[in-house]
C-alpha cells in the first residue's frame, strides 16, 4: 500500500472516530439529564430544540461565553495543562478500538480501526493511568485545599482500582492468548462472548470501570457534600467544560472497551451469513450499528446506576477495592487456569 492512500484512509478514520467520540460525549450530557429526569418521574430538558436536543449546544455556547477565572495560583501553566491532559487522554484511547471488521471501497479493503496495535489492551491501560494526571495536576495547581483533597482521593482510588481491573483482564488474556482488541473480537464471533465464559471477570471489570471513570457510586473525587466541586472547584468557562466533557468521553470509551472485550464487540449472530449474502459493506454497517447499540446500553447503564445507588464512603471504597475485588480477581485467575488445564 502506498503512503498517500494509507494516510488518507487512516486520516479519515481518525477524524470520523474523533467526531463520533465528541458527538457521543456531547449527547451523553443530554442523555444523562434525560435519564435522570425520567428515573425521577420528571421530563428533563425540553426547551432547546425538540425534546431538548439542542441543549448540549446551548451548554457549550454558555461555557464559551463565561468569564475565565484564574485563582491566585503560582502556576498558571499547570492550571491550564490539567483539563488539557484530561481531555486528550480521554480521546486518544479510541485509536485502538475495532469499530467494525472492514469496508470494501474502490476495490480495496479498509480496516475499520485507526491502528491494530498488538498490545492494544496495555496501551489502553497506559493511557487510562495517565488520565489521573489531568485531575492531579489541575487540582494541585488550583491552590485550593478542597481540590487537593479531591486529587488525593481520585489518584488513590484510580491506582487501587487499576490493580483489580488489570487482574480481571488477565483471566481474559489467558483465554484469548492475545493483547490485541481485534484478535479478542474475532475470537468472540458467533455468540462466543467472553461474558458467558468469564462472568466474574466481567463484574469486577464493570465495577472498576465505574471507579476509573469517576462515576457514582465512586465519584468521591467530586463529592459535593464534602469537597464543594472537588478537583474542578476553581475552574470556570471552557476549562471546566473540558473536565466535564472528558468525563463523558471517558464513559463512552470505557463503555466501548466493555462491549469489545466482554460483549463480542461488533460481532452479531449471523454476521458471516450476512457477509456472504449481502456483501461485506452492508454486513459491516450492521456490525457498527450493533457495536453502538452495545455501547449505548452501557452508557445508559452507567447513568442508570448513577441515579440508583448513593455514593460510597471513602473507607468502603477502599475496602471494596483491596479486600474484595482484588482477591476475587486473583481467585478468578486461578479458576480460569484450573479450568483451562482440565478441559483443554
Amino acid at each position: 500500500m502506498d503512503t498517500t492512500t494509507f494516510i488518507i484512509e487512516k486520516g479519515t478514520i481518525i477524524v470520523v472516530v474523533f467526531a463520533i467520540t465528541m458527538l457521543m460525549a456531547m449527547y451523553s450530557t443530554w442523555a444523562e439529564r434525560k435519564v435522570a429526569a425520567f428515573l425521577q418521574d420528571r421530563v428533563g430538558p425540553n426547551r432547546a430544540g425538540w425534546g431538548g436536543l439542542l441543549q448540549p449546544l446551548a451548554d457549550g455556547l454558555k461555557l464559551f461565553t463565561k468569564e475565565e477565572f484564574f485563582p491566585n495560583t503560582p502556576n498558571k501553566f499547570l492550571f491550564i495543562l490539567g483539563p488539557g491532559i484530561a481531555m486528550s487522554t480521554a480521546l486518544i484511547t479510541s485509536a485502538v478500538i475495532p469499530w467494525g471488521d472492514k469496508f470494501h471501497i474502490f476495490g480495496k479493503d479498509v480496516v475499520l480501526q485507526a491502528t491494530d496495535l498488538d498490545v492494544s489492551i496495555l496501551y489502553i491501560f497506559g493511557v487510562l493511568s495517565i488520565g489521573v494526571y489531568g485531575i492531579m495536576i489541575g487540582a494541585w495547581a488550583s491552590n485550593n485545599k478542597y481540590s487537593l483533597m479531591s486529587a488525593v482521593r481520585a489518584s488513590s482510588q484510580m491506582i487501587s482500582y487499576e490493580v483489580a481491573m488489570g487482574l480481571a483482564i488477565i483471566s481474559i488474556l489467558m483465554m484469548t492468548g492475545s493483547l490485541s482488541l481485534k484478535e479478542i473480537t474475532i475470537q468472540q464471533a458467533e455468540m462466543k462472548w467472553n461474558i458467558f465464559y468469564q462472568p466474574l471477570a466481567f463484574v469486577i471489570f464493570l465495577v472498576c470501570s465505574f471507579a476509573e471513570t469517576n462515576r457514582t457510586p465512586f465519584d468521591l473525587a467530586e463529592c459535593e457534600s464534602e469537597l464543594i466541586g472537588g478537583y474542578h472547584t476553581e475552574y470556570s468557562s471552557m476549562k471546566m467544560g473540558f473536565y466535564l466533557f472528558a468525563e463523558y468521553a471517558n464513559m463512552f470509551i470505557s463503555a466501548t472497551i466493555l462491549s469489545v472485550v466482554f460483549l463480542g464487540g461488533y460481532n452479531y449472530p449471523g454476521m458471516e451469513w450476512a457477509e456472504q449474502n449481502w456483501g461485506v459493506n452492508i454486513a459491516n454497517i450492521i456490525a457498527i450499528a450493533v457495536l453502538f447499540a452495545k455501547i449505548c446500553f452501557f452508557i445508559f447503564f452507567y447513568m442508570w446506576i448513577r441515579w440508583t445507588i448513593p455514593r460510597f464512603r471513602y473507607d468502603q471504597l477502599m475496602n471494596l477495592g483491596w479486600k474484595i475485588l482484588i482477591p476475587l480477581a486473583v481467585l478468578n485467575i486461578i479458576l480460569t487456569g484450573i479450568v483451562m488445564v482440565l478441559f483443554n
Binding site: 435519564v35 425520567f38 428515573l39 425521577q40 418521574d41 420528571r42 421530563v43 425540553n46 463484574v203 442508570w304 446506576i305 441515579w307 440508583t308 445507588i309
Partner: protein, 181 residues
C-alpha cells in the same frame, strides 16, 4: 400491654438493628433490586406540569390576586377604614384616605375614600383576612390564575389602585347581567 408497646395509629415500627445477611452483604443482589425499582420509574407517567403551556388545576377555595370592587353603579366601595390593613398579618396593606368632593359622587360610594391603596405582593401571604375584615365588601381575593411575573425591582411588586381596582368594563358587564336576571 406495656405502655411503650401501644400504638394508637397502628403504624408504629420498632427499629431493628439486625446484622445483614450474607446476600445483603455481597450487595450485588440488592443493587439489582434497586435498579429494578428505578427502571420501573422510567416508564411511569411524568408528574411535571409544563407551566406556561399547562396550568395546574386550582382548588375551589383558591385565593388569587386581590380586587377592589365597585358597586352596581360603578362606584368604588372602599371607604378607607383601614380595617383590612389592621387585620393583615403580613402588614402588606397601606392606604391614604381622602374626603369625597361633591362632584365625585359618581366615583366613590362613601364620603371618605382611599386615594392611595397599595398592597405589597411580596409581603402578602394570600390569607384572605383582609377580605373577611372588610365591612363594605370592598376587597376580595379573586380566582385569577395570573401569577405575578418575575421582575428586577421590588417597587414593581407594590400593586396600586391601577392594578387592584376592578376595571370599569367588568363593572358594567356585571351590572348588566345582574339587571337582566
Amino acid at each position: 400491654m406495656a405502655v411503650e408497646q401501644i400504638s394508637l395509629s397502628g403504624r408504629k415500627k420498632v427499629v431493628s438493628n439486625k446484622e445483614m445477611t450474607f446476600i445483603e452483604k455481597i450487595y450485588l443482589l440488592t443493587i439489582l433490586k434497586g435498579l429494578w425499582i428505578t427502571l420501573k420509574h422510567l416508564f411511569r407517567r411524568k408528574v411535571t406540569i409544563k407551566y406556561p403551556e399547562e396550568i395546574r388545576e386550582m382548588s375551589p377555595v383558591y385565593r388569587g390576586q386581590h380586587m377592589l370592587m365597585r358597586d352596581d353603579e360603578g362606584r368604588e366601595r372602599c371607604t378607607a377604614c383601614g380595617l383590612c390593613a389592621l387585620s393583615c398579618p403580613a402588614e402588606a396593606i397601606t392606604m391614604k384616605a381622602e374626603e369625597r368632593k361633591p362632584e365625585e359622587k359618581h366615583l366613590y360610594r362613601e364620603e371618605k375614600y382611599a386615594s392611595i391603596y397599595e398592597i405589597n405582593m411580596l409581603r402578602c401571604i394570600f390569607c384572605g383576612l383582609c377580605e373577611e375584615a372588610c365591612p363594605k365588601e370592598a376587597i376580595f381575593l379573586t380566582k385569577s390564575k395570573k401569577i405575578a411575573n418575575a421582575d428586577y425591582s421590588r417597587e414593581d411588586f407594590i400593586f396600586g389602585k391601577d392594578k387592584l381596582v376592578m376595571p370599569l368594563e367588568m363593572a358594567i358587564n356585571n351590572t348588566k347581567s345582574n339587571t337582566a336576571n
